[in-house]
Assembly symmetry: C2
Homo-oligomer: 222 residues x 2
């Protein structure tokens, strides 16, 4: 992911962060960072670490809404925490900067080169995130568990240009990311294995089918 401070030197960065009324936070592994985002419209930039944003239903469903890695944006500006219960958890030791939405988007310091560069960087990151969100939507709109899994595998596979995939999370979390029942997913993964489409060794999955093969096209929902 593009660095939000790309092409902005250390001194300028300090000035920028001061003028945007930023706050720096550190969270140790496995701590909740929800408190920071309760108030309205702030923007978090993850400098280092890894966090998950999890939504908990009134039905007891657990959904992984976002996985945030280095240089990514997150916060209430893009995901309203009002109407449901959320957990934001640092899965590793994590450093974040929190900015005010208003400060970034109402600021008119256009004579400061570093501010314009910062806007450009933020836009680059936002565009990448929009692409990710659309990929997620392409997965979620598949009607069967099988097709959700295959779409997910294809996206990860083409991202790294390889038929050998390393899952970024465990199977429980994968099910919560794909919004399907874990045991039903487990059953379907077994089917895919038995039919010879994939191979699984821990978090390492090998795709044995050709994306453009007739076998793939024949994978009908029913």
């Amino acid at each position: 992911m593009t660095n939000p401070f790309y092409n902005i030197d250390f001194k300028e960065r300090e000035k920028l962060l001061k003028s945007l009324e930023s706050h720096l936070f550190h969270f140790p592994k496995n701590n909740s960072i929800f408190s920071v985002f309760e108030q309205e419209n702030n923007i978090g930039i993850l400098l280092k670490g890894y966090i998950q944003i999890i939504r908990l239903d009134s039905n007891g469903n657990r959904i992984i809404m976002e996985e945030i890695g280095d240089n990514e944006l997150f916060g209430s500006f893009m995901l309203s925490f009002k109407n449901a219960e959320y957990e934001i958890i640092a899965k590793e030791d994590t450093d974040i900067v929190v900015l005010e939405y208003e400060q970034i988007l109402r600021n008119q310091d256009f004579n400061k080169k570093y501010y314009s560069q910062f806007l450009q960087n933020m836009l680059t990151i936002s565009f990448q995130k929009l692409k990710e969100k659309n990929e997620r939507i392409e997965i979620l709109t598949k009607k069967t568990i099988r097709n959700k899994l295959l779409e997910y595998f294809n996206i990860v596979s083409s991202k790294y240009g390889s038929k050998y995939i390393y899952l970024p999370f465990n199977f429980t979390d994968l099910a919560d990311y794909l919004a399907i029942d874990r045991s039903a997913m487990s059953r379907e993964l077994k089917n895919l294995k038995d039919e010879g489409f994939i191979e699984i060794k821990g978090k390492r999955i090998t795709l044995l089918y050709d994306k453009y093969s007739s076998i793939y096209k024949m994978m009908q929902p029913y």
Copy 2:
């Protein structure tokens, strides 16, 4: 939606569009505008009109990926048209500007005030779009048709602050937006009516339940 040329006067806007190598297009109602977006990484700004981006599966599924209205962004920079069949249709007479991703994000004309203002406007629009995408994901991750419908109704209802909802599309398209079978959705809408939770008159739906009521919380998937 924020105007991408907010706070940029006509003369500056002309200069900006020229420097970004923009192209203007007009499409009459019901025409395909796909051709414009076949090439890599371009950004469309919808000036006036209304378009739908539809994904067609190899399974024969039809999914409404995006609905684009005035001042919204769309294009291959945020939705890759490579790995599936897409239709991009102007549902009304539509004017669009097409820009190059590279031109916007590599340009270093930071001494031009209008360019920085444009970046700020684009960022505002991107943030709004990210919020919409997350709302869509919150709907799609619901496990039952009933809960998808209710989540959708709640989002539309709270957006307009009213229990009277006017659907922005017909029921066939609603099903394709929620990624569920039309007839199954029709059945579930009838159930919700019969149980007294909603009232339907054409595209006008009245929510008869209280969002914070126990009835709502009791709406379990099974």
